[in-house]
């Protein structure tokens, strides 16, 4: 396929009919979580879109994000998207290895200078550059080098977006997110551990379609996917409102599918599309499977006070604090009370009988 042809033409040459193109546009709109009324605009944009070069860098990560992407329904319409981007470097997926791989990366960077899209998964260790290297190049160095001429960066997964599990206390590698290092490029965070595959492809589709990044929230997440919290879109929300909760994972409430708030569900503070797009081809999502949301698309989700502690509970042991408070308070109160008693006794001891002669002040009489 010719790199330089507009997408519409390229698709037709592949034998995709105009009905097929319309289907493609409709599902792409759905993928980007855009309303169906946007389909004509998407069709127009896609007709003339040109495929971008994509460089995918994996740092301190578990390949879960790539798994999420590739294990989803392939070959798929998302696949079609990938057919229409030029994935020039991805060390897990590419056939080339060693010097050839690095050469491909450098070539792509040179050829598409200022226009390529950089996708990152995994966090970057700052503790010691040697903690994570690719072809002898430290993650930090490679990120800086590739980011320099990138048009935009997509940080895929919570590690790249917010530091992820490597960043969890005590953060032995000094792991940080992409946005903590790169300050001068447009960055989209697509957090999740892993993110929903269609969300990853949706963001790519958006870039492909419109040539720019989607609208973001305060944590640089695409609003189209991260605009609502799980709790508000959760089908178990009516149980929360009615006050029906599962108290354990095997009680009546759990069987009846009641709200999992008490079991530590972080849905109320987790912004993601799991409750609507769901996972595995729209089959289910964690809450539907009977487990509370861990909040994996939120920064520091692993340190949010225990996965199984309710959101309104303290993240620390309050009972001990209370016990210390009671001990100190009792001692301090007793001390203060004794001081008061001494003061009062002194006043009583100093009491001189008041007689009628003492009722008028000297200057008055």
């Amino acid at each position: 396929m010719n790199h330089d042809k507009p997408l519409g033409q390229a698709l037709r040459e592949q034998g995709v009919s105009r009905r097929g193109f319309l289907k493609f546009c409709a599902t792409t709109a759905s993928l980007m979580a855009l309303p169906p009324s946007m389909v004509p605009a998407i069709a127009k944009a896609l007709e003339s879109a040109r495929r971008p070069s994509v460089i995918w860098l994996s740092f301190q990560e578990c390949t879960g994000c790539t798994e999420s992407l590739t294990r989803s329904h392939a070959p798929t319409l998302e696949g079609l998207i990938f057919d229409n981007i030029s994935l020039d470097y991805h060390h897990t997926l590419q056939a080339a290895s060693g010097d050839a791989a690095e050469a491909a990366r450098e070539a792509a960077m040179e050829e598409n200078k200022g226009k390529y899209l950089l996708v990152v998964d995994g966090s970057i260790p700052l503790g010691n550059p040697g903690y994570s290297t690719i072809a002898g190049i430290s993650n930090l160095e490679m990120l800086k080098e590739v980011a320099e001429h990138a048009a935009a960066i997509i940080a895929v997964g919570t590690c790249a977006a917010y530091g992820g599990l490597p960043h969890a206390k005590p953060n032995p590698t000094g792991a940080v997110s992409v946005e903590e290092i790169i300050k001068d490029k447009p960055i989209v965070n697509v957090p999740g551990c892993p993110p929903i595959p269609v969300v990853i492809t949706g963001v790519l589709a958006h870039f492909l379609t419109f040539g720019k990044l989607p609208e973001l929230d305060h944590l640089r997440r695409p609003l189209a996917f991260y605009g609502n919290n799980i709790h508000d879109r959760c089908y178990r929300r009516p149980f929360y409102d009615k006050g029906l909760f599962a108290n354990t994972f095997d009680d009546e409430g759990a069987r009846k599918g009641w709200c999992l708030f008490k079991l530590g569900c972080k849905g109320p503070v987790t912004y993601n599309a799991c409750a609507t797009i769901k996972w595995n081809d729209g089959t289910s999502f964690p809450i539907e499977a009977g487990h509370g949301c861990l909040g994996c698309s939120e920064p520091n989700f692993w340190d949010m006070g225990g996965f199984y502690n309710a959101l309104s509970e303290s993240t620390m042991d309050l009972s001990r604090t209370a016990a210390v408070g009671i001990a100190v308070g009792a001692a301090a109160g007793a001390a203060s009370g004794l001081l008061n008693r001494r003061k009062k006794s002194k006043a009583e001891a100093a009491h001189e009988t008041v007689t009628v002669k003492d009722l008028q002040r000297e200057e008055k009489s």
Partner: protein
């Protein structure tokens, strides 16, 4: 069925996200709008939070109508008119028969079924060529 099964069984049908009635209202409203203003409406079912079984419940409510069309472009698509005339259900599949999109369209005829002008022009040219061959 062993005891494990019964203790872990999720009671489908006890859920109620409360989203079906408003959705039905939206469909009714769209149908009114189609009649009055000839405007079509498309509802993307992916964007709606549904409890397990609820989507099927919705489809059962809508029922099947007279028309059922199968489209074969980039994988199959099923286009069915519901028992309510003008309310269509469109399901797009990929080549692996996985659902790629699920829409309710309130229209006289789903846009995807109409033959494109450009396709007809191409066909016209192709037909011309064919005739010349004959």
């Amino acid at each position: 069925m062993n005891s494990m099964d019964s203790s872990l069984k999720v009671e489908i049908g006890s859920y109620n996200s409360g989203n079906i009635p408003p959705l039905m209202h939206e469909i009714r409203h769209a149908l009114r709008n189609l009649l009055d203003n000839d405007e079509t409406t498309t509802i993307d079912l992916r964007g709606l939070p549904m409890a397990p079984g609820e989507q099927q419940q919705l489809l059962d409510i809508l029922g099947k109508g007279e028309v059922s069309v199968q489209l074969d472009a980039l994988g199959k698509s099923e286009i069915t008119e519901s028992s309510y005339a003008g309310v269509w259900l469109i399901i797009h599949y990929n080549n692996n028969k996985e659902v790629m999109g699920k829409f309710i369209e309130i229209t006289r005829m789903p846009a995807i079924l109409k033959t494109r002008t450009a396709d007809m022009e191409e066909s016209l040219a192709a037909l011309q060529v064919k005739l010349e061959e004959v």
